[in-house]
């Protein structure tokens, strides 16, 4: 390419025409510089702080394994992530399947509606649940008015409340890729199964469902990963009773302060996320 260019434009021979290569790559340098200073360096410092402060030591990590408080919060977080992933899966699969079976125009509307909450701040969506499910909220007022219950039901400030909040935020993350993978499937496959005498149930469970399993598993895993780092939802809908890793980090940084332990826990969360994300890429395939 450059040889041709120089041949055609002898006057420009001194200045070689730009080629794809290091030259173009240089355009990434300003952001790289900023990222190194404001992202990579802080992450590395955090890793260092968990093992080097004040001198090389593993005591901050040992403290994690020994203290029942930390272990309980870690267990609690993984439990919340598991519950959220299961609920999202149970609700999201039928939703994705239903959207796939809609006519194209209705499909577009349904997809836009699923995408809509994506655009609205997690804070706003979390807040809305207080309006709906709080003691003075819509549901409890209706139940009291109908005489179905004597006292407001405790929907919020417990595991149930946090599950409702996390599921609400993460459901689109499962549904959208799942719909995309379902739409890629060849309709003739099911026609062939029907021709061969399979019932509708048999076609769904023995042809359709197994083919969607990788995308389904990947989506559920993604929800699990994303739940691990949740902070806003447990803080607001858990009312301090459902502490998760992120909320514990807040306490260790802003209240206690135990920065070295916070650095260790944060590193642990970082490692778990990267590990699970690698698994997610493997399960879902490169393209999902």
């Amino acid at each position: 390419m450059s040889a041709v260019t120089q041949g055609m434009l002898p006057g420009h021979a001194a200045r070689a025409a730009p080629r794809a290569g290091w030259g173009a790559g240089a355009y990434a340098l300003p952001l790289l510089g900023l990222m190194i200073i404001a992202f990579d360096l802080p992450i590395l410092l955090m890793l260092a702080q968990s093992v080097l402060s004040p001198q090389p030591t593993l005591e901050h990590w040992a403290e994690l394994g020994q203290s029942p408080v930390y272990l309980r919060v870690l267990g609690n977080t993984f439990q919340m992530a598991l519950i959220t992933a299961l609920v999202c899966g149970a609700l999201g699969y039928p939703l994705a399947f239903w959207i796939r079976c809609l006519k194209p125009r209705a499909q577009l509307v349904a997809l836009s509606l699923v995408l809509l909450p994506f655009w609205i701040s997690v804070l706003v969506r979390t807040y809305a649940w207080i309006v709906v499910l709080g003691n003075a909220g819509l549901v409890n007022r209706s139940l009291l008015w109908l005489g179905l219950t004597e006292a407001p039901l405790p929907f919020l400030y417990n595991t149930l409340g946090v599950t409702i909040g996390t599921t609400n935020v993460l459901l689109p993350f499962l549904v959208l890729p799942l719909v995309a993978s379902m739409m890629k499937m060849d309709e003739r496959l099911f026609q062939a199964a029907a021709t061969l005498g399979a019932s509708r149930m048999a076609i769904f469970w023995r042809v359709f469902f197994p083919l969607t399993l990788p995308a389904f598993a990947a989506g559920t895993l993604l929800v699990f990963i994303l739940t691990l780092g949740f902070y806003v939802t447990p803080a607001i809908l858990g009312g301090g009773r459902v502490p998760m890793i992120a909320n514990m980090l807040d306490v260790l940084i802003n209240v206690m302060p135990r920065w070295e332990v916070a650095a260790a826990i944060s590193t642990l969360l970082l490692g778990a996320t990267i590990l699970l994300f690698g698994l997610y890429r493997m399960v879902g395939g490169r393209r999902s």
Binding site: A38, L138, N168, P172, I245, A246
Partner: protein, 264 residues
Amino acid sequence: MRAGSFAAAVALAGLAFLLVPIVITIVMSFSSASSLQFPPPGFSLRWYESFFGNPRWVEALVTSALLALVSSVIALVLGSLAAYGVARGRFPGRGLLEANFIAPMILPAIVIAVALYLFLAKVGLLGSALGLVLAHVILSAPFVIMVVGVAIRGFDQRIEQIAFTLGASRRQMVLRVLLPNLLPSLASAYILAFVSSFDEVIVTLFVAGTYETVPKRMFNELVLEVNPTITAIATIMIGVSLLATLLIALISGRRGVMGSMMGK
């Protein structure tokens, strides 16, 4: 294949579950009652008046808007250049570089918040405007990298080569050939970066010091008490988000919001 009535029922419940909170918040923000009564006994603009009548909320709104404006411009400029470098450069470690740029979007915000807190405290920038802007830039840049990166890869490279053949330097080609052709994607990327900065709460809570943004103030109020004024600001934020979605849909035309969001 057709969905059975069971799947349809669960699907509609799921859809309602996603949308009901948004609808209720909007309706409640126009309520005339001071309790969270639904349906509201009457309608009024008192919560909007209470929001705009409170100097602390207005100040938070100004801070949020300024912060989003500054950080999204920086993210757009640096992110677009980097997207070009990653898409057209041929050098070892390119995939790793791109992963590094996208990482702040994938890692839990709380990990970034802790890392930045410890780092900014060490260099004495905790609670400074500079630290806050830096944090928001690295959080918004991935959106720019993704949207602009997809657009550059979809741009016919032969057009770039023709510009070089005609004697353009790389800078001239990028500024006068590539960027004008990518304007719609750049606009979408900017809106995404702006909204993501405007909505950001976790990292801001950790590093903002005495600066108060709207999400930070909302969060701190929500932890303490349920104040209906928040339904008003929540509705304003929903409005801004919907407007942004609409703008992106209009800009990206047929590709639609799905396409520009999911990078297809």
